[in-house]
Each structure stands twice: as structure tokens, then as C-alpha cells.
Point group: C2
Chain length 375, copies 2
């Protein structure tokens, strides 16, 4: 392991640190995998929500990408990206913002799964002489939104949308419940099969389906056959996190994000360290709580990134973290002022707590990235 | 109930809404209570972190206040506030920022509970010819930081600090585990008694203790005797939340904060509504999970604020909420595009997800408040 540059230890804590070399490695790994399988990535930009990270993820500005808010769509459109999928069901009241982005030459695709939304789109399009690009959400795993591939509404909604209809989209968020390669492979197949079946029904009904979009970080890393699938989406793979480590998508060494914290006190009787990273810096996410290994509010590492086995942030309040020492670790090993790194349960949630990220570049230099805010 | 002004329904969702009239009522209630008990409030500004909210909380700019980060201290100092307690244990590396604020004529008090921190303060003070104002944290309930009132270190640390020593501070965060008025009264007494005992020991050792500071929202609302206590701190009482409702500090009608969301879909088989408020808008906080009434990720209300009994946000992902309908509620009552309000489990955590708050003023007009960011 290369030693940290001095600035890593000297910034005021808590702060979010991203390791550029690991980020690049994670991005390359999935891009090469999906490309080798003859498919295309549509990276989800929601984890980091920065223009700088987008530059790593998108080989050129016309490459497809996914966003989780119109605020992101507006920022990326402004920066010159031209093919964006807003992957949250469309609230009719937001159509004017979508139209405004599309009028600037950006192919912003929207998502829906009800006849009511389709009516709203068609009515707004006709009233304003707009064209939209609409994906219908397919429910491949019963976990959130979408309609079943065999639902009668499918062909009706697509027909209703007419020329505004572009494709089908599913997100196998249920794959987060898997923990073996076999289960993940099966889940990836189930995700693709759901879209294939829906597409087949549309073709039978004489409706063209130009794009078939699948994906989640686990299924993107374990899918083996993307035939008849146009594109694969994934987001959190850029930095990975402890949830993904537990699922088996990455190793703990692949985690490119950590929160740097300082020891601000201790409780000798209880063998506790107190730090200045509470849930405000780490997030309230307890995604590993139901998994094989529960990391509390995050895995504790030395400031150099060495994992300190058995040490987690066990509890948090707004600006305090409590680390219950165990094993060979004693309070005297961590004097007040010691800096540590905390690996996050869920990178999307932890990044959301920070407006600015600090990047240790592959050459040791320091960059700062500004997060796109709001909705 | 007065009908909402039209703008409340027409802003893009999700957004954070604060009811000025309720905010003012909550603030007045505690101010009057503490004043009637002959004590002074040092409000904690960490829930809303805005200059506008501070103006409601602080009768004048020399009134005492509490902050959770130096970023807040810097912003409030800049705005003219002069008496601020940074209520998180001092990391020695942050002393230069504290000194810079103090040099602008602001009495920024700091907190510590170890001899190592006291040494760092004294050394830095002597090296730079600064004076500091230091509170020693007392552990009154075994829940986080501080030293016990009878700990031998207490007098040693105070003596070590010398002229930099100002007072004692405790936070009975453990009071969040109470749920009856009797338990809360006892907890408030325990909190005060811990500081009184520590102060008595200092006096016996010939050390003057100018300020005795106690407080948490529950104990501030149930304490009956603040004799020998200089000031009471509380934060979340400004807007309250479902955790405080469950503890019994407020009624659900007192909650001054909600997240406004739109219905973006449904699942007929499961009787689910999908909304555009995921954990990014609501936070991951599940503070009511261990309480008598578990509100999931928040209580669902109509856009007018009427509580819809039995309806919670049952699960969330980044930008999606799922409401499992029950009782008399059916999907057809909530067409796509319907706006709803969600009451938060934990107002501090929910506010932290928003850079901007929208305020419905008592006269129905619309204000926007900007949150102070970062550390």
C-alpha cells in the first residue's frame, strides 16, 4: 500500500475521501465486462452526482447515462451530455422541466408504468407540440415499481404512447437480497427474461421496442447473457460499499469511498472511542444490518486504509460516532486526534451527506468535486 | 385547519415544508417554560442550521446558542451572534478555527472531557497567546461522552485549564429512551444532579464554575427544578418530530416539518402507492422503529396536513417511497400526481437532506431558507 499524501491527514474532519485509482479500476472492470458480453452500459450517476465523476463514467458526452432527479438531468444537460434516462416514475407536474431539457437537444427519456401517466404525457405532448421518449417500467422482481411482463396494461400503455414510446426498463433491486454467485446469476437472468418477455409481447402486438434496459450493480456483475438487451445500468459500482462486499460483488479492498474522522474522546470503562463522524457524515444507512456481516455504521480502517478487523462504528448521533473497541485494540492505540477512515455501508447514502468530496488522485494530488444538489 | 395557499401544492416535489406558526408556537412554549423556571435557554441550532431559524430562536444576537459544527459557528459569528457553544468534543486540529472565530469578538465555547484535550488547548493557547472558554463534558446517563461527576479527572482537568475553564455541560441523550412523564422528570433531575455534583466538587477544590449547562429536548420539557443550573439546551423542539411525539414531549399536531411528495405510481396487487420521496428526501432515520409506535419512514398526511391514520412510508430507496395502503384507503383515493405530506421520524436527519426549506408563513406567504452546509 502506498502511503497517503500528507494532505489526507491534515484536512479538517469529517470529510469524504475518494480514491481515484480504485474508482477508475471499478469503472473499467464493469465497462470491460459489459462490452465483452456485447452490450452497452448506461451508468447511473446517482451515487456521486458530480460532473467530475461523470467524466470517468461516460466515454463521450453522447454516451447514455441514468439520473435519479431532474436536478441532475439539468446539470448534465448543461454540461453537454445528450442521452439521459430519468429513472424515477414521472410525476405529471414535472413534464414542463423535462420538455425544457429536451428542447435543448438532450434526449432525456422518462419512465412510467400507469395509463394515467401515459395520458398525462400524451396530453401534454399534444398541447405543447412536444415529443417525448418514454420507457415503460417492468417489474422483474416484485420489489418496487413497474408492471409485470404479462400484465394486460403493457401493450395498452405502449399503444397509448405511440411515437413517444421508446423502450422497456427494469431494475432488479431485489438482487440486493442475494449472497451467492449462483443466486446472482439467476437473478440477472430473471431480470433480462422479464424485459425479453415484455418486448416479445409488444412485438407480437406490432409495437416496436427500440431499447431494452436492465440493471443493478449486482446483476450487472453477474449476468451472463445479455442477448436482446440493449443496455445495462449500474450505479454504486463506481465506489462500491460494504453492502456490495457482503453481496459478493466486490472485495473490501475495492471500496473507493471512506469518511475520514478524528478521535475526539474515549470512555475507559466501556472501552469506547468517540469520533467526530456521526450520522451527519456517515448517513443513517444500516444496509448491512440484515446481511451476513453487520458493519454497524461502517468499518473502521487506519488512515492509511488498513482494515481494523472487528472495529465498526457501533452507534452514532448527529456529530458523534462511538467505536466499541474489541480484540487487541485498546484506547491507548488511538490517542485523541488520531485520524481514521470509515468505510460506508451504502455509498449512495454516505455521499448524499457531503456537498464536497475530496479525491486522492492516483498521483497523490488533491481534487475536490462538488455534488449536484436537490431535486 | 386553514387551507394551504396554492403554492404548497404547486412546487416540484419532494421538498421540505416548515409551518411558521407551529415553529413559533413550539419556540415560545419552551422559552416561556424555562423562563418561568428561572433559567435561561441556550437553543441548539443544529436541527435547521439556518440564519432565518436562528432569528426565531434567539431574542437578540448576544443570546446564548449551541452549534454542532464549526461551519455553523462561522456562519452565525459572521451574522453577528456572539455567544456560541460548539457542543462536540474538541479535536485539537480544529483549535485554529476556534481561535479565528474568537478573535472576531465571538465568545465561542468549546467542549472536552480528556486531559489530552486540555493539554492541547493549554499548549495552543500559550503558544498563540489566545484565551479559550472551555466546558468540561459530564456524563449524566452513560450514553455517549463525558466523564462521571465523581471521576478523579474532573478537578484535574479543570485545574489544568485554569483561566480557560468556564463551566460544565451535560446532554441527557438517554432521555430519548423514556416514554412517561415520570421517567422524563426523573431523567431531567438526574441530568441536573450530575452537573450539580460535579460543580460542588469543583467548588470544594476551590475552582470557580461560572456556567452549568444541561439539556435535551425531552428533559428541557419535563425538568421541574433548575436551581444551580445556568442554562438549558434543546434543539429539535423547534419543529418536533415523530420520535418526540412517541416520547410524549409533543402532540402530532405540533410537528412543524413535513416533506411534500407526489404519488408517481401504484401496485394494485399489493395495494401500494409509490411516491417520489425516498430516503434522499426523508432520510434513512428509523428512530421510531424501537418505540411504541413505529412510523416506518414517516407518517402520511394529506397535503392539508390531516394525519391519515395507519398510513406510513413503509420502505424507501434513493428516490422512491412505498406506502402500503390499509384500512379504508384504496389506490383510487390517491391518483397519480396527488400530493401528500410526510411527517419525519427525526427532524434533524430529515432537514439534513435538504439544502433549502420552504416555509409556509403564518400569513400564507412563501419563504425559502438556505441551510448552512458542511463542517
Amino acid at each position: 500500500m502506498t502511503a497517503n499524501p500528507a494532505w489526507v491527514k491534515n484536512l479538517d474532519t469529517p470529510y469524504l475521501l475518494i480514491d481515484e485509482a480504485k474508482l477508475q479500476r471499478n469503472i473499467d472492470r464493469l465497462r470491460e465486462r459489459i462490452s465483452a458480453l456485447g452490450c452497452q452500459l448506461r451508468p447511473h450517476l446517482k451515487t456521486l452526482r458530480t460532473l467530475e465523476a461523470a467524466a470517468y463514467l461516460l466515454p463521450d458526452k453522447n454516451a447514455p447515462a441514468t439520473v435519479s432527479t431532474l436536478a441532475e438531468a439539468e446539470a448534465y444537460a448543461q454540461a453537454g451530455y445528450t442521452d439521459l434516462l430519468y429513472a424515477v416514475g414521472m410525476a405529471p407536474a414535472k413534464l414542463p422541466r423535462v420538455a425544457a431539457i429536451r428542447q435543448h437537444g438532450v434526449n432525456l427519456h422518462i419512465l412510467l408504468d400507469t395509463p394515467e401517466q401515459a395520458t398525462a404525457v400524451v396530453d401534454y405532448a399534444s398541447k405543447t407540440q412536444q415529443s417525448f421518449s418514454v420507457f415503460i417500467e417492468i417489474d422483474s422482481d416484485d420489489h418496487r415499481g413497474g408492471i409485470k411482463p404479462d400484465a394486460p396494461e403493457l401493450t395498452a400503455i405502449a399503444a397509448q404512447l405511440g411515437s413517444h414510446f421508446s423502450g422497456l426498463m427494469t431494475h432488479a433491486g431485489g438482487s440486493y437480497g442475494c449472497s451467492t454467485p449462483e443466486a446472482l446469476k439467476d437473478f440477472a437472468k430473471q431480470e433480462c427474461d422479464a424485459v425479453r418477455r415484455a418486448r416479445e409481447r409488444l412485438l407480437q402486438a406490432g409495437i416496436e421496442c427500440r431499447i431494452s434496459s436492465v440493471g443493478s450493480t449486482p446483476t450487472a456483475h453477474f449476468g451472463e447473457d445479455f442477448s436482446d438487451i440493449s443496455e445495462v445500468r449500474a450505479g454504486v459500482y463506481t465506489t462500491f460499499d460494504l453492502v456490495m462486499k457482503n453481496i459478493g460483488v466486490c472485495n473490501i479492498e475495492d471500496l473507493a469511498m471512506s469518511v475520514v474522522t478524528s478521535v475526539i474522546g474515549y470512555n475507559k470503562e466501556k472501552n469506547w472511542l468517540l469520533t467526530d463522524s456521526g450520522w451527519m457524515a456517515l448517513s443513517r444507512d444500516r444496509g448491512t444490518a440484515g446481511q451476513a456481516q453487520d458493519y454497524g455504521y461502517g468499518q473502521v480502517c487506519s488512515i492509511e486504509g488498513e482494515v481494523l478487523d472487528g472495529l465498526c462504528v457501533n452507534s452514532t448521533s448527529q456529530e458523534h460516532g462511538v467505536i466499541e473497541l474489541s480484540g487487541n485494540h485498546s484506547i491507548s492505540d488511538f490517542p485523541v486526534g488520531t485520524t481514521l477512515r470509515i468505510l460506508p455501508n451504502h455509498a449512495c447514502a454516505t455521499a448524499a451527506m457531503h456537498n464536497v468530496y475530496h479525491i486522492v488522485m492516483a498521483d497523490g494530488s488533491h481534487s475536490q468535486w462538488q455534488r449536484i444538489q436537490g431535486w
